[in-house]
Amino acid sequence: MIFRSFAFALALGAAQAVVAATAGQSAPNFQLVDTQGKAVQLSDFKGRYVVLEWTNPQCPFVRNHYNTRNMQALQQRWGERDVVWLSIDSSNKSSGEYMKPSKLDLWMHSQGAAQKAVLVDDDSTTARLYQAKTTPHMFVIDPQGTIIYAGAIDDRPSTRPDDPPNARNYVQAALAQATDGKPVATSNSVPYGCSIKY
């Protein structure tokens, strides 16, 4: 415990200048390799809506959204409307929850996931860039590259199967409002879930 506190204090001491990745800010660019071994950059998708979904198949909150097929349905629905959905696993290689890209790919496949790509961020660099805290932690980026939503996937922080279908889904709402040309009503929320395994 004492040791962890030191590590933590040092981590804070070594603060570094970045712009907060929050609604209204431009989304920082990043480059990652997907589970197929292909390099993917955020800037590849300029001119399109992009959803970033921080994921970790070991996390009960993530599993709940996949078991209820809530996540897959969103990926499918918005994928058909040319929205780029990127799932990012930022579990550090040193963490017990790290999954090899092939295993991660297999898991997503077995779930019938329909995202554009599953990205491997095994040194948590991109999570740090976005100050992502939880799984799931969601970001919606507009075609100009501005973050229009950052936070939780919905308004029910729980792992109960009956919650996702009945919750108010913030990502769905943000995409629907933005693609309709309306302002996004809720652009920030407190993310919930498991901590990202930095």
Binding site: A7, Q16, V18, Q25, S94, P191, I196
Partner: protein
Amino acid sequence: MLRSAHLTRLFVAATLLALAVAAARAAPVRTEHVEAELVSERTALVPGQPLTVALRLAMQRGWHTYWRNPGDSGLPTTLAWKLPQGLSAGPIQWPVPQALPVGPLMNFGYEGEAFLLTEVTAASGLADSKLVTLTGRADWLVCKEICIPEGADLALTLPVASVSDADPRWAAPISSARGALPQALQGFAVSAVGVGQELVLTFTPRKEASDPGEAYFFPYKAGLIEPSAKQTLLRDGDAWKLTLAVANQRVGEFARVAGVITSSRGFAGQRAATLDVPLGGSIVAGTAPPAIATVPLALPADTSASSLGVALAFAFIGGALLNLMPCVFPVLSLKVLGFATHGGGRATMRLHGLAFAAGVIASFWLLAGALVALRAAGAQLGWGFQLQSPAVIAALAVLFFVMALNLSGVFDFGRLIPSSVATWDAKQPFLNDALSGVLAVVIASPCSAPFMGAALGYALAAPREVTFAVFTSLGLGMALPYLVLAFFPKWRARLPRPGPWMQRLRQLLAFPLYGTVLWLAWVLGAQLDNDAVLRLGVSLLLIALALWAWQSRSAGALRGWTVAALAGVAAAAAVVWPVVAASTPTAASQSTSIDSGGWQAYAPERLSTLVAQGRPVFIDFTAAWCVTCQVNKRLVLNSSETRDAFTRSNVALLRADWTRRDPAIGQALAALGRNGVPAYVLYRPGRKPLLLPEVLQQSTINDALATL
């Protein structure tokens, strides 16, 4: 009739008592990681009076559940009551949480045992002598590295009665939990002012108040204050100011600051208190670009991730490698000499080997015990800490010098030690072996071989049993060569046979010891000053003279030589005494060990300033008593090629000199998962700090800089 009614009443009373006892003993629900139950402070519900019941959660070691605001991740525990008519329950009264860091994130919650209190009230009309069952559904998220949602349906059955007794099992813990609940802060006027990215809570005492110590504020609402940001309490005139960071991804209106303020020494005696004040000033987080956001850099390889097996293996290999380190080598040589001269049967040989191994392992246990004790005392120490004390350095120098003189043949132990002790010593060769095992460990401490750092860092951060396991493994590794030689006589047969060469070898072996003495003198010079080195030198000279005089007793007048020898030792002690008595200065004069070449002395603030400027930073964790450090410095760090490479990449150079004890450096090393020097780390903007190997090569530096 009357008698019958009396009996009935007695029977009911007995039943109620039995039930009440049964309720108190109701088996708790055990989930995978938590033991949960509803417990009551008193044995009965009294209509019209509030009763405190608690949801008791006992978490497995290392696991935690969450407070009402879980921090960066997690979920608060919930308790949904299903109560019979006439009963009502209040909200959970949350105990003061702990701040639980998870990597760069922060959680608020409970480890160990938590009592979440709720006040239950029975309506005054509720019938007497009735049993009621309070049921509730408790749900919690329990996390260690992974998180598991758990829950239980719990029940508590209590009689309704006009009087109640304190529950023998639960009254005390519940009452103490209630006593520890945070109350509104007294004796201070509190204001909250937003200043851009930060907000400042000012605590002004209404009358004289003592220093609250370290403070930490737990906000009730998530999304307003950054949970992982550092909180610092500073004195400002009569008041204290606590600076908090506004959440990087702020959510919702931020009009009031409400939560629990805790402090190590208490605000006018209150260790934990609630506050709720309006927020003045203005904050800009969330929508405007902040000047500096706190994006913590992840630290390399969290030590908790490395498995025990790997740590034990590394400790074993590290222990074996210790034998090849320059500071252990003389002992190895001496020991090999011992094996060659011992002779005796195979069984005796094995016993010699085992005795030596026992000595080595026993001293590692002693070190582990000391480490555990000192760690518990909160001392910031690291491997090699023994050599941070000038007294230990001086004592070792004298010891090695005397041993060297013995090897050179200036005197013999047989004559120095009274014959009774000498023969006792000879009759106890196994004790002798064990003692040389101890000596080997004592002098091995400065040599933090490549495998040692990680294993020791692991042991320092690990539970007590693991610390002992790792140190045992280290000891086994170190004792390995001796055991092998003792148990495989064939290999031993390759050792040279005893003969006249032994005397010459013995004399030759004196020279590495003299070398060690020189090195220790140099370390002493780095710790103290030139004067200390001279004093040590004079003292050694007097000791040599005294030993020579002692040896000459047999040749000349017995009394005269003895007096001369004793006088010499006394004079030596007098000369060296100021050195031994010198307390370890805590890095007061860093400048002496910081040389030119663009190196600055390490300080945590300097590091954070440089990192905040976006400059890459290279830190050399070093000490004068660390041979590997000096070799790396001479051959690699001070080379013109390295200097040019650092300049080209605009790397800021910091040197953390651990020759003397310095808690800041000890903490920085611990944070890197290391526990000794050398350690080399390159901080890269926006990336994880890169730890370099302990033995540096030119290519190592070039490769590291290429990642910038």
